[in-house]
């Protein structure tokens, strides 16, 4: 451009602009080719074993995949997961709010609950609930220690095996969920509740309308993780004889001795369910990301036109 600049004659100059319009030559990557070959080989090896090893019993798998007993077990597993998780979330929310209370006693009670339920194995807790009748043969409403009971039930009637499973899973889940929710509540800046309190909203209304909705985007990923974990943890209920997916699969292979195929059947269903749950989780995450910088405003788009 400048007449007094360094002299570069036109034909010596490299025309980068013109070259950038043409396709760029790709560099060869030998490492990539080797890795593709190795991985392809391993896949073929794995697939070969799956096909040629008769132990997998794919015909048996196909036969039992939609067996009514398996489907019944599947339904029960789903029920257990949903109910236990709902109890876990509800109780966990209450525990989290209690734990953050300025009242030391209330915070302490929640602390002890969490300490206890996280501190003992779930398997033991499930057995405890299953054998609750041994500790308290009857449950009733009456005057403690001395008086007569106005109403009295047989514990085994009130807490069925299914009930024991739900209580065991739900109350244990609550302890873990409480900590997740507490982390979520703490993640909302203090200014948010301050603004709400200054407007005249009570502590609980502030939590409900302002803090909890904004904590959801922090809470949901680990809760989703817990739900998926719960789905598989429900298989522990076989120790108190509840007929879930794994239990029914075991019942079947106890008769026909085809352990591997039936365990594969159970695994297939577990993996199908976790896949569906993961999809739900990502939907929920989108829903609760409202107002974060990644969402685009509709009117803003209009203005741009």
């Amino acid at each position: 451009m400048s007449p007094t600049g360094t002299v570069v004659s036109e034909h010596e100059r490299i025309d980068y602009v013109a070259m950038s319009g043409r396709p760029v030559l790709k560099r060869r990557r030998p490492g990539q080719i080797v890795s593709v070959i190795v991985i392809a080989f391993l896949i073929v090896l794995a697939a070969g074993t799956l096909v040629t090893n008769p132990g997998f019993g794919w015909v048996t798998v196909g036969k039992y995949l939609f067996d009514t007993r398996i489907l019944a077990g599947l339904l029960l597993t789903l029920e257990l997961t949903v109910i236990a998780e709902v109890i876990g979330f509800a109780v966990g929310m209450i525990l989290a709010v209690m734990r953050m209370s300025p009242n030391r006693l209330i915070a302490g009670v929640a602390g002890v609950y969490i300490w206890f339920f996280r501190g003992t194995p779930l398997l033991v807790q499930l057995l405890f609930w299953g054998f609750a009748a041994a500790l308290f043969p009857t449950i009733g409403i009456g005057i403690p220690f001395i008086g007569p009971n106005f109403i009295e039930w047989n514990t085994n009637d009130v807490i069925s095996l299914m009930g024991a499973a739900i209580l065991g899973l739900g109350l244990n889940e609550a302890a873990y969920t409480a900590e997740i929710i507490r982390a979520g509540l703490l993640s909302v800046p203090a200014g948010q509740s301050e603004a709400s309190r200054a407007m005249g909203f009570s502590h609980l209304k502030t939590l409900w309308y302002v803090v909890i909705p904004q904590s959801m985007k922090v809470i949901i990923p680990p809760i989703g993780n817990n739900v998926i974990s719960m789905l598989k943890t429900t298989s522990l209920v076989i120790v108190i004889g509840v007929g879930d997916l794994l239990y029914n699969a075991q019942q079947i292979y106890a008769q026909n001795l085809k352990q591997i195929p039936l365990l594969i059947v159970a695994s297939i269903w577990y993996i199908v369910l976790t896949t569906i749950l993961s999809w739900f989780q990502s939907r929920l995450e989108k829903r609760y990301s409202r107002g974060t910088a990644r969402t685009v405003a509709k009117p803003a788009r209009k203005e741009a036109r």
Partner: protein, 252 residues
């Protein structure tokens, strides 16, 4: 419109005394600017007015009544939480960091108090909210989330949100301190408009131009006491105390 009276207000955080006996009075429709170096106790004093901070001793009377206490004979009794919330709802507050609710649009932020607290029907609340947004010049931003608004716009929404509760007193805690210099003007314009409409306002600020133009009284605080107070021109142009003079020489 409200009166506010500060009677020998003391406030300590642990061993640190941040307010050491504050006395002054705000008349209805007055605009009072609190100025002073950081750490002088201005913001704390403001937050004591709506009981976000609890005074250690002394009293703050809003419309001749304490926010956090009732009088029973010769003693003060803590007011119930519900009663404190009710009294607070008549005092609007605007924060340095806006504190708009991040999961609500501008419109939802402004409608939040009226619908959820005053139980005004949604349609009516929305009409009023849109009017308020128009008043602060943001009618076209109603459906934007706070993260999609500039600082100045957020602060104007925050003012609209406070006004939606129909307060008779507005507290501003350094409303322009977190803003880019070129956005300060739009917020101050809204505040001037509000002052002209007769709102009683207590404003903690470093905007000396605003204080001179709009304030009825300027109060200079330092180290937890009021060093000087009076008409803006007297305090800002002809300060009587060395401390005021040295502060003003740094900020003007």
């Amino acid at each position: 419109m409200a009166t506010v009276e500060f009677l020998n207000v003391h406030k300590s955080f642990g061993p640190v005394e941040v307010l050491k006996g504050i006395d002054f009075r705000v008349e209805p429709s007055q605009v009072v600017c609190l100025i002073g170096p950081s750490g002088s106790g201005k913001s704390t004093l403001l937050r004591c007015v709506n009981h976000l901070e609890v005074t250690t001793s002394g009293a703050i009377l809003v419309n001749d009544r304490m926010i956090g206490y009732d009088v029973h004979g010769e003693r003060l009794v803590e007011a119930s939480d519900a009663e404190i919330d009710r009294r607070r709802s008549t005092i609007g507050m605007v924060f340095q960091n806006f504190n708009l609710f991040g999961h609500m649009t501008a419109l939802e932020n402004v409608m939040f108090g009226p619908t959820k607290l005053l139980r005004i029907p949604k349609a009516q609340a929305e009409t009023e909210a849109r009017e308020l947004l128009a008043r602060v010049g943001l009618a076209d931003r109603a459906n934007n989330y706070p993260s999609q608004l500039s600082g100045g716009q957020q602060q104007r929404v925050a003012i609209a949100r406070a006004l939606a509760m129909k307060p008779d007193l507005m507290l501003f805690d350094e409303p322009t301190s977190a803003l880019d210099p070129e956005l300060v003007g739009e917020v101050l314009d809204v505040m001037k408009q509000l002052a002209a409409s007769g709102m009683t306002m207590i404003v903690v600020t470093h905007e000396m131009g605003f204080a001179r133009e709009v304030a009825d009284v300027v109060v200079f605080m330092d180290d937890g006491v009021i060093v000087e107070q009076g008409l803006p021109d007297d305090v800002l142009l002809n300060p009587q105390h060395d401390r005021t003079r040295s502060f003003l020489s740094k900020v003007l």
